[in-house]
Amino acid sequence: MTQALLMRYLLWPLVKFLGAFIVVQAIVAAMNWVERRLLGLIQARLGPNRVGWHGLLQIVADPIKFLLKEDIVPSSSEKVAYFLGPMLPLIPTFMVYCLIPFGPPPMFIAARVNVALLLVLALTSTGVYGIILGGWASNNKYSLMGGLRSAAQMVSYEVPFGLSIVGVLMICGSLDLVRIVDYQANNAWNLFPQIVAFFIFFVSMNAENNRTPFDLPEAESELVAGYHTEYSAMKFAFFMLAEYSAMIVNSCLVTLLFLGGWTMAIDGKGLTTQQLVSMGVLGGIIGLAIFLTKMMFFMFVYIWFRATFPRFRFDQLMDLGWKWMIPLALGNIVVTGVFVLIGQERLMYWIGLATLGAIGFHIFRKPVPAVKAKTAHEVAHAS
């Protein structure tokens, strides 16, 4: 009896967690190669293409190199905190994979908790401790400034990040990620009624992860490498791991909150959760595939941003967070509240759709004169 209970409530969820953990680690390792290769393609150069077929073995070579490199602990550093720095952010970002449903509920979620979203937010926001601890403990001026900047930035964007979710909660009425997804399958993607919230969420999530255009903590032209200037070998790798894992968590969150997660349905028609569950194993695989596709799209946008946008100045960054994002997020809550109160929720979906249409029209109105640039391939084979 107890064995069966243990099996059901502890071992089986843990197996699922480990599965998610390994898959995500594989994605993180692969992202390293994908990012460099994509940046190369966007900037008309090649990127890593030497190790193995199209440089694919780079995925294996990098971790081996991290393991074998010398681990330098600066003599003036604060030793205990220096060790804790890279380890602290790792644990909560990995724990989050217990809570995120990667597919239709009973199968692809390790621990379904009814305050999942709040727990995810709480766990991911602890990432700032590791960064400020590592930056301070290195006892290096660049590290300290990078750590402080990073802390100020992450803390500032935590507020609009949280506030933008409130609008979604007002519509869906639950903190359970599965219920939020089901609500979207039965109505439409939250992207439409909460388009402002989506915009705020997306910008803050870039800032939270210290990604370009908000990568001030690592501004290499002024701060060498920011908070991880003094870190080498595996400890540096842990910082990178935590960063990429947090990127994946945020991509998952934006997919779940705004893009309907693993479902592909409008108004309860299409691939809803019930539909997928009734299809059995095949439905699970389809759900997982839909989810991963949406998630990887956001990972791609992260890289796309990095290749496209120049870096903000620090005061611009703080201004954007405190003077624009927070009032905008509060305004979004008020507007959502008014629409829900007067019972015109449906209208929000149409307004959102119209806004998206207008943006699309604006982008595609004038065809940009095409400049025929040589592709990386042509450049490489020209001579």
Binding site: K69, E70, S75
Partner: protein, 119 residues
Amino acid sequence: MANYSVLLVAALIVLSVPVLTLFIITPLIRASRANKVKLEPYECGVPASSLAFDHRFSVRYFLIAVLFIVFDVETVFLFPWAIRFKQLGLFGAVEMAVFLAILLIGYFYAWKRKVLSWV
């Protein structure tokens, strides 16, 4: 409850990853030829003029942290309200409007006192 215990055990499993690699695997296989110069704090190749602990940093970082506490508590307060928003109806909306108004007064006070502007 069972679901939270999964989280706890997962935390222990995850903790073992950095501990194993940092304290058991890498010490066995990594290179280690440290010398005095290598262990100096990095400062673009020249001997460090001073350490980070010798310096003070801008008080604005503290102000931002204090403001963050206020707004983050507000966000957490908004979460349960938002979930029950449809059931609470007009009463809940007015209650929250009063709370937000008080908060916004503080926000604009901070703005006027130039806490939010960095330069």
